[in-house]
C-alpha cells in the first residue's frame, strides 16, 4: 500500500500471453539490470514539499490535513454558490424581476400553457411557481450552475494537485473494513461532483466485487454537486444532518455489502504521484469542458423535468401515486404523501426533486428524511445510463440492493426520529 518498487512482484500471473518469452521473475530481473545500467541518481536533497507529501499520508498528520481540505471545500462552495451567486444575485433577479415579468407578459393565467411554463400565478418566488421557465430556469441557472461551477473548479484543483491518491492511502485501512480498497475514495469524491464520471472511475478497482459495491454505494449514498447546491439553498440548516445520514448509510451498508457480495477484496498498491502545482491551462480547460457539458446536458433536463412533472400533475398521475403509496410514505417513512411527486422528479434530476420538496409543508425532520430518501431511492437517469454501460446484470443487482436499502434505511430513519421524539 505504500510506494513500492515493483507492484506486480507478488501477484499471480493471470494471463500469460502465448507470445511471452520471459516469465514474471525473469522480466523483473531484466528490468533491474536495465535500470542499473541507465539510471544514475545524484544526491537529492529532500525538500519541504517532499516531507509534507509524506506527512499528508501518515494518519497522525494526514487526518488533520484531510479535515482542513474538506472544510475548505465546503466553505468555499457555500460562500461562492450560496452567499455570492444564488442568495446575493440570482434569488433577487428571479424573484423580483424575472418572475413578475413572466407573470405579467404570459397571457391567460388560467390556461394550461401558463400552468406549464409560468406555474402558479400567485407565487412570489421561483421555488413555488414551478413553471418550466420560472422554477426550471431558476433551479438550473440560478442555483445549480454556480454550485457545479465552483465544485468543478475545486475538483479540478484536487485532481491535478495529486492529493486524491494520498487521501486514498490515508483511508485505506478504514475502507478495507468495508470491503473496499482505499482507492474507492477517489470515485466517492468525484461522485460529489457528479455521479456519472464517478461510476466510470470505479473501473480502477480490481475485482467485480469492489466495483459492484462501489457503484451501488455511489448510486445510493453519494449526493452530487447539483444536489448539494440545491440543498444548501433549500435546507441550509439541515444539510449537515442529511450528510450525516448518508455517511452512516455509506459506511454501514458498505460493510454489510462486503459481507454479502461474493468475491475477493485484494490489496492493491496505490501509486502516489508527486504533488504538482495545478496548471492554469489544464484547470480552465477541464472547467470549461465540464461546465459546458452541464449546460448542454443538464439544463435541458431540468426544464424538461419540470414540464414532465407538471404534465403528470395535470394528468392526475401524481395525485394517484400519492394516494396509492400514502400508507408507505406516511407510516413507514414518516413523510407526507405528497413526497411522491418529488420522488418521480428525482429520477430525472435530484436537484429538481429537492427544490420541489421545499413546496411541501412538513417538519424539519420530515424534510431531512425526505431529502435522504430522494438521495438514496434511485439514481438519476444519467447515472442509470452509465451504470447500464458497465453491465446490465450489475445494474439489476444494484437496483435490487437499492430498493431494499432505501426501504430499510428509510424506515430506520423514521424509527430514529420516533425515538428522538422529533418525527
Amino acid at each position: 500500500m505504500q510506494k513500492e518498487e515493483h507492484p506486480n512482484r507478488h501477484k499471480r500471473q493471470v494471463v500469460q500471453g502465448a507470445d511471452m518469452v520471459l516469465n514474471e521473475d525473469q522480466r523483473w530481473s531484466l528490468v533491474d539490470l536495465l535500470a542499473k545500467q541507465t539510471i544514475s541518481a545524484g544526491t537529492y536533497k529532500q525538500t519541504v514539499w517532499d516531507v509534507i507529501g509524506e506527512l499528508t499520508v501518515k494518519p497522525l498528520t494526514g487526518i488533520p490535513v484531510a479535515f482542513a481540505v474538506l472544510y475548505a471545500f465546503w466553505s468555499v462552495f457555500g460562500s461562492f454558490a450560496g452567499a455570492l451567486c444564488t442568495d446575493g444575485f440570482f434569488v433577487k433577479f428571479f424573484d423580483n424581476h424575472f418572475l413578475p415579468w413572466m407573470q405579467a407578459i404570459w397571457p391567460d393565467p388560467n390556461s394550461i400553457l401558463y400552468f406549464l411554463f409560468v406555474g402558479d400565478p400567485l407565487a412570489d418566488n421561483c421555488f413555488e411557481a414551478f413553471g418550466v421557465l420560472t422554477s426550471g430556469l431558476f433551479i438550473a441557472i440560478g442555483v445549480v450552475l454556480p454550485a457545479v461551477l465552483i465544485f468543478y473548479l475545486m475538483m479540478a484543483i484536487l485532481e491535478d494537485s495529486g492529493y486524491l491518491p494520498r487521501l486514498a492511502v490515508l483511508v485505506d485501512t478504514l475502507l478495507h473494513k468495508m470491503g473496499l480498497h482505499g482507492y474507492a475514495i477517489v470515485p466517492t469524491i468525484l461522485g460529489l461532483g457528479c455521479n456519472v464520471p464517478a461510476i466510470t472511475a470505479t473501473r480502477i478497482l480490481e475485482t467485480k466485487k469492489q466495483r459492484f459495491i462501489m457503484m451501488t454505494l455511489l448510486a445510493i449514498f453519494v449526493p452530487c454537486g447539483a444536489q448539494l447546491g440545491i440543498m444548501l439553498e433549500v435546507i441550509p440548516e439541515s444539510v449537515g444532518y442529511v450528510m450525516l445520514f448518508l455517511l452512516i448509510g455509506y459506511v454501514v451498508f458498505g460493510y454489510l455489502l462486503s459481507k454479502i457480495v461474493p468475491g475477493t477484496n485484494p490489496e492493491i498498491l496505490i501509486d502516489v504521484p508527486p504533488y504538482h502545482m495545478p496548471q492554469r491551462a489544464n484547470i480552465t480547460k477541464k472547467l470549461w469542458m465540464r461546465t459546458s457539458g452541464f449546460i448542454i446536458n443538464a439544463v435541458p433536463f431540468v426544464l424538461l423535468g419540470v414540464l414532465f412533472i407538471n404534465l403528470l400533475y395535470i394528468g392526475g398521475v401524481i395525485q394517484w401515486l400519492s394516494d396509492v403509496f400514502a400508507p408507505v410514505f406516511v407510516h413507514w417513512f414518516g413523510v407526507p404523501k405528497e413526497t411522491a411527486g418529488p420522488l418521480i422528479a428525482a429520477f430525472l434530476r435530484k436537484d429538481l426533486a429537492v427544490a420541489q420538496l421545499s413546496n411541501i409543508e412538513m417538519t424539519q425532520y420530515q424534510m431531512i428524511s425526505a431529502v435522504v430518501l430522494i438521495s438514496i431511492y434511485f439514481p438519476c437517469v444519467a447515472t442509470f445510463v452509465v451504470m447500464l454501460k458497465e453491465g446490465w446484470k450489475e445494474l439489476l443487482a444494484a437496483v435490487g440492493v437499492l430498493f431494499a436499502v432505501a426501504f430499510i434505511y428509510g424506515g430506520i430513519i423514521h424509527a430514529i426520529g420516533i425515538l428522538l421524539g422529533v418525527a
Binding site: V48, P64, G78
Partner: protein, 155 residues
C-alpha cells in the same frame, strides 16, 4: 543551534499553544452555546457546527502540529510539521476572508440593487474577526522562516 532558531522556537511554541487554545475555545463556545463571545476585535459566534466545531478542530490541530514540530525547527522534518500546522490555520482564515468577500459583494437581501456600495463593501470587513483570521499575521511569520532559512530553495 543558533540563537535565531532558539528565539524562533520559543515563538513557534507560544504561537502553537495559543492556536490550540483558540481552536479549543471555538469548539467549547459551540458546545456551550454561550451565545458567542467577543474579546477586543476577536469574536467567536459559535452558532454553527461547521464553522466552529469543525473549523475550530482544524485550528486546534494546526496549533498541535506547530507545537509538535517546534523543538527542532532547523530540521526539515520538524519544520515541515510547523509549516503544515500554519497552513491549516491559513486555510481556515482564507475561507473566512473569502466568505466575507462573497457576502459583501452583493447588496443586502432587502436592498433593491444588486451590487453593494463601495462603503458597504468595505464596511463588511469590520471586526470582530474569528480567531483564525487574527492568527493569520502571526502565523505568516512561519512563511517568512520558510524563505529566510532557505527551505524554499530548490535543491
Amino acid at each position: 543551534m543558533n540563537t535565531e532558531h532558539n528565539t524562533a522556537q520559543i515563538y513557534i511554541a507560544a504561537l502553537g499553544l495559543v492556536t490550540m487554545i483558540l481552536g479549543l475555545v471555538d469548539i467549547l463556545v459551540w458546545i456551550g452555546f454561550t451565545g458567542g463571545i467577543e474579546f477586543g476585535i476577536m469574536g467567536i459566534a459559535g452558532d454553527d457546527f461547521f464553522r466552529w466545531a469543525w473549523g475550530g478542530l482544524v485550528v486546534f490541530l494546526g496549533g498541535a502540529l506547530m507545537l509538535s514540530g517546534c523543538r527542532n525547527v532547523g530540521n526539515i522534518q520538524e519544520f515541515s510539521k510547523v509549516l503544515l500546522g500554519a497552513a491549516l490555520v491559513w486555510t481556515i482564515a482564507a475561507c473566512d476572508i473569502f466568505a466575507m468577500i462573497c457576502e459583501n459583494i452583493p447588496a443586502g437581501e432587502e436592498a433593491p440593487e444588486f451590487l453593494n456600495s463601495f462603503a458597504g463593501f468595505v464596511g463588511g470587513f469590520a471586526p470582530p474577526y474569528a480567531p483564525a483570521v487574527i492568527l493569520l499575521p502571526f502565523t505568516l511569520v512561519i512563511a517568512y522562516f520558510f524563505y529566510a532559512w532557505g527551505f524554499a530553495d530548490e535543491s
